[in-house]
C-alpha cells in the first residue's frame, strides 16, 4: 500500500503541475538576498550582542574565565538548590574534570555516559556545552549525539549551558548554512529561553515541560 500511495500522490502532484514525468533539471530556488534576510552582519561585538539578546529572552547570562567556570557552576547550583546534576560527556567538561569537582563540592553529579536515559527525569539540573550560539536571537544550538543526550537540557528544572566565543554566529542564516555544511547528526535543538506558555489568558508562565531556569556561562 505504501509504495502505491507514494506513486498516487506523486503522480497527482505532477498532474497538478501539468507535467508528464520527473523534472529533467534541478529547479533553482530564489536567491536569498542578504540585505533583505540578514539581521546581523558583523563579527564584531558578537559576545555583547549575544548576551543582550539572551537576557531579553529571560536567560541568565554570565561571562567567566575558564578557570572560574567550575567554582561558579557550583555556586550557581547551590543557589538553585540543585542536588542531583547530570553533565554531557563533552570536551570542556571532561577536560576540566567537572564531575569530580562537583562531587568534591557535595553535588551528586554524573555524566551522561554513567546513567540511563530514564534517570534524567530525576535530576535537578543538566549541564551542557553548546555547538553554536546565535547572536541575532540569543539562541543555544545543540546537536544530538551519543555524548550529549537530548534530555539533559530538557527535563530538569535548571539547564546550565557553556558557550565558547568561537562558536558564536552572527545570524540564523549563518547557523543554517553551517548546519547544511557540517551536518545535523541525528537532530538539532535550538534553545531560546526557558520553557514557557501563555495559553491560559495570555498569562506568561515559565517552566512548562522544560526548564524554567536557563543559565549561560559565556567563556571569556
Amino acid at each position: 500500500m505504501n509504495s502505491s500511495s507514494r506513486q498516487t500522490v506523486l503522480s497527482r502532484v505532477r498532474k497538478a503541475l501539468g507535467r508528464d514525468g520527473a523534472l529533467r533539471d534541478k529547479p533553482i530556488p530564489p536567491a536569498i538576498e542578504e540585505p533583505i534576510a540578514r539581521l546581523v552582519y558583523s563579527d564584531i561585538g558578537l559576545p555583547e550582542l549575544f548576551q543582550k539578546r539572551a537576557r531579553e529572552i529571560a536567560m541568565l547570562v554570565e561571562q567567566v574565565r575558564i578557570d572560574e567556570l567550575l567554582p561558579r557552576i557550583v555556586q550557581f547550583l547551590r543557589e538553585q538548590k540543585c542536588q542531583k546534576v547530570m553533565l554531557s560527556s563533552t570536551r570542556i567538561l571532561t577536560n576540566l574534570g567537572a564531575v569530580h569537582f562537583l562531587c568534591d563540592n557535595g553535588i551528586a553529579a554524573r555524566t551522561w555516559r554513567q546513567m540511563t536515559a530514564d534517570e534524567a527525569y530525576d535530576m535537578d539540573a543538566g549541564i551542557t556545552e553548546v555547538d553554536y550560539a546565535v547572536a541575532e536571537t540569543g539562541s543555544l544550538v545543540i546537536r544530538h549525539r551519543p555524548e550529549h543526550g537530548r534530555l539533559i537540557s530538557l527535563v530538569p528544572f535548571v539547564h546550565v549551558a557553556i558557550v565558547q566565543p568561537k562558536d558564536l554566529l552572527p545570524d540564523l542564516i549563518d547557523l543554517f548554512e553551517r548546519l547544511a555544511q557540517e551536518g545535523t547528526g541525528s537532530g538539532v535543538t535550538i534553545i531560546s529561553g526557558p520553557s514557557k506558555t501563555s495559553d491560559i489568558e495570555m498569562t506568561l508562565v515559565q517552566g512548562v515541560h522544560g526548564p524554567n531556569v536557563v543559565k549561560v556561562f559565556l567563556l571569556a
Partner: protein
C-alpha cells in the same frame, strides 16, 4: 452624532438559531451567537489584539519586512511549483537518514498508516504534540477508537482534550476559555481544590503529563517545515512537549502536509524569522527542533524508529487549481489576529479546523465549497489579512474569486444571482449607478431619522443591523466630493488626495458606511 448602542441579540435571532442548528454547518448562526457573546469577544480581543501589535512592532527589526515577506512567499511558491521534485528529494534524504517515509492520499490512509505502526509496536499510549494536520484528519478519535490512550501534551491542546472542546485559534487553541473555566475544569478532572492561578494550573498539568512522557511508546508531532535538502522536519514550540516526543518514546511519527516543504536549510532561517514574528511577536520560539531519523549509534535517547507521514488529503487538488498560492500558508495565525471578523466571532464559528481568514479560504477548498459556501462571505475584504500574511497570500483576492465560484456553480439562491446580475448591470452604466446610489443614500438617510445611525433595515438587508447600528451615508457622496474638489484645485494633487483621506469623526464613519454598502 449619537454613539452606537450595544444591544442584546434580537429576539427573532432565537428562532434563527434553532432553525440553523438543524443544518450541519451554518456560519450565520455560529457567528451571530459568538458576536452576541460579550465575554467571548473580550477574551478573544484580549488575546489577539496584543499579538497583532507585537507582530507589527517586531517586524520593524527587519530591514524591510515587505521585501522579506515577498522573498518568503517566493520560496514557498517556488517549492509548490516544483513540489514533485522536492518531495522526491525529501523522501530520498529521510531514507538516507534511516527514517521511513509514508505517503497518505487522504485522511483515512494517514490514520491507517499510524494505526499500523502502533499495532506493530504493540503500543498502548501515544503522546501527541500540537499538529493541525492531526486535527484535520481526526487522528486522536481514530487512535482512541482503536483502544490507544492518546495524550495531548501542549497545555492548550491538553485543556481542549479534557474538556472535549475544539481549538479556536491556530496557535493559541484556548483563547476562548477563561482562566476560571480552566480552573473549574482542572479541579473536576484532577479532583483537587479550585485554584485559578495560571502558574499553579500549569504546574499541575506539568506534573500530570511528566509521567505520561516517561512511559509512552509512541510520540506524534506535526511539523512547520520540511527541508528537502537535508530530509529534516523543522518544528517550533515554546513548552518543550514536542522535544519530549523527540526524546523519550521508542517510536516517533511526524505527521506533515506535503505543502510544508522548503528546498534548502538556509530557507528555514528566512521562514523562521517571519514565522515567530508573525505568530506571537517574538523574534524566535523557545525551541526550534530539527529531526528526521532514528537516534544514531550509541545515543541513549531519541526514537529508535522514525516515521514521516506525508499527507495529501486534498492538497494536490488545490495545487492544480487557481488557489495554489493558498498552500504557501505557514499557519502562523497572523491573519486571525488582524481580522476584524475573527476578533468579533472567534474561531469556532468558522466550523472547520482552520479558522480566520485563511480558514475561510481553505476550509471550503479542503471540505467542499457546497458545505462551506458561507465562509468566503466571512470577510469584510478590508485586506488586513493580506497585509499581515508573512508569505503574501492574497486572501481577499481569493475570497472574491471563491464568491464568484459560488455564483457560477449556482450554490447560492436564485434570488441572489438575480440581484448580482442586476448589480452588475447597474455597475456598467454610470447613470444607473448614480441613480441607484442616490436612491440608496436618500433611503438610508431617511431611515436614520437625522441620528446618523440606521437602526433597522428591511428584510433583505436586516442582517446589517441585527447586532449593530449602521452609520448613515454622508450628505455628499464620494463622487460628489471628488468632483467638487477637482474643480476647486485642478492644479494641486495634494489637495485632491487630502479630500479622500478619512478624517476623524463624521466623514470617516460615514465613508465607511458607504463603502460597505457597495461591497454587499
Amino acid at each position: 452624532m449619537s454613539t452606537p448602542q450595544t444591544r442584546p441579540i434580537d429576539p427573532n435571532t432565537e428562532a434563527f438559531l434553532k432553525e440553523a442548528a438543524a443544518s450541519p454547518f451554518d456560519f450565520h448562526s455560529g457567528s451571530v451567537k459568538a458576536a452576541g457573546d460579550e465575554q467571548l469577544k473580550r477574551q478573544i480581543n484580549n488575546a489577539v489584539t496584543p499579538r497583532d501589535s507585537a507582530r507589527k512592532l517586531r517586524l520593524l527589526e527587519v530591514p524591510d519586512s515587505n521585501k522579506l515577506r515577498i522573498l518568503a512567499g517566493q520560496i514557498k511558491q517556488h517549492t509548490l511549483d516544483n513540489l514533485d521534485y522536492y518531495l522526491e528529494q525529501l523522501t530520498a534524504n529521510v531514507e538516507k537518514n534511516g527514517g521511513h517515509v509514508h505517503f497518505a492520499a487522504d485522511g483515512a490512509e494517514a490514520r491507517q498508516i499510524i494505526l499500523d505502526i502502533a499495532r506493530d509496536h504493540d503500543a498502548k499510549r501515544v503522546i501527541k504534540s500540537k499538529s493541525m494536520v492531526s486535527e484535520e484528519i481526526h487522528l486522536a478519535d481514530a487512535l482512541e477508537q482503536a483502544g490507544l490512550e492518546v495524550v495531548e501534551t501542549d497545555l492548550g491542546e491538553f485543556i481542549v482534550q479534557i474538556s472535549k472542546d475544539r481549538p479556536s485559534h491556530l496557535i493559541a487553541p484556548i483563547v476562548h476559555k477563561s482562566r476560571q473555566s480552566v480552573a473549574t475544569l482542572f479541579s473536576e478532572y484532577f479532583k483537587t481544590p479550585y485554584n485559578d492561578d495560571a502558574t499553579s494550573l500549569t504546574k499541575q498539568a506539568r506534573e500530570h503529563l511528566r509521567d505520561k512522557f516517561r512511559q509512552s511508546e509512541i510520540g506524534i508531532t506535526g511539523g512547520n517545515f520540511l527541508c528537502a535538502e537535508s530530509g529534516l522536519v523543522c518544528s517550533v514550540e515554546n513548552e518543550g512537549n514536542q522535544r519530549q516526543s523527540v526524546s523519550t518514546p521508542r517510536v516517533m511519527i511526524a505527521l506533515v502536509g506535503i505543502e510544508k516543504l522548503v528546498p534548502r536549510m538556509v530557507d528555514l532561517a528566512v521562514m523562521l524569522k517571519l514565522l515567530t514574528r508573525s505568530a506571537t511577536g517574538n523574534a524566535i520560539t523557545i525551541y526550534t527542533n530539527l529531526y528526521g531519523g532514528p537516534r544514531s549509534f550509541g545515543e541513549k535517547d531519541g526514537p529508535q524508529e522514525f516515521h514521516l507521514v506525508l499527507v495529501d488529503n486534498g492538497r494536490s487538488e488545490i495545487l492544480a487549481g487557481e488557489y495554489r498560492e493558498t498552500l504557501r500558508c505557514i499557519r502562523c495565525g497572523a491573519c486571525l489576529n488582524a481580522c476584524p471578523v475573527y476578533r468579533k466571532i472567534g474561531g469556532h464559528a468558522y466550523g472547520g479546523v482552520y479558522p480566520g481568514p485563511i480558514g475561510a479560504l481553505i476550509t471550503p477548498l479542503f471540505e467542499g465549497l457546497a458545505k462551506f459556501k458561507d465562509l468566503p462571505q466571512a470577510s469584510s475584504l478590508c485586506g488586513a489579512c493580506y497585509e499581515a500574511c508573512p508569505v503574501k497570500i492574497n486572501i481577499p483576492k481569493y475570497l472574491i474569486q471563491m464568491r464568484r465560484d459560488i455564483n457560477r456553480s449556482h450554490l447560492n439562491g436564485r434570488g441572489e444571482r438575480i440581484v448580482y446580475r442586476l448589480w452588475a448591470r447597474a455597475f456598467q452604466s454610470s447613470l444607473l449607478y448614480a441613480l441607484i446610489g442616490k436612491f440608496q443614500k436618500w433611503d438610508l438617510r431617511r431611515r436614520a431619522h437625522g441620528s446618523g445611525w440606521v437602526r433597522d433595515l428591511p428584510k433583505v438587508a436586516a442582517g446589517w443591523t441585527q447586532i449593530r447600528d449602521m452609520p448613515a451615508p454622508a450628505k455628499k457622496s464620494f463622487h460628489e466630493m471628488w468632483r467638487s474638489r477637482r474643480f476647486e484645485s485642478m492644479d494641486s494633487q495634494t489637495d485632491a488626495s487630502a479630500g479622500i483621506s478619512p478624517s476623524p469623526g463624521g466623514r470617516g464613519a460615514e465613508g465607511a458606511g458607504r463603502s460597505r454598502g457597495d461591497l454587499q
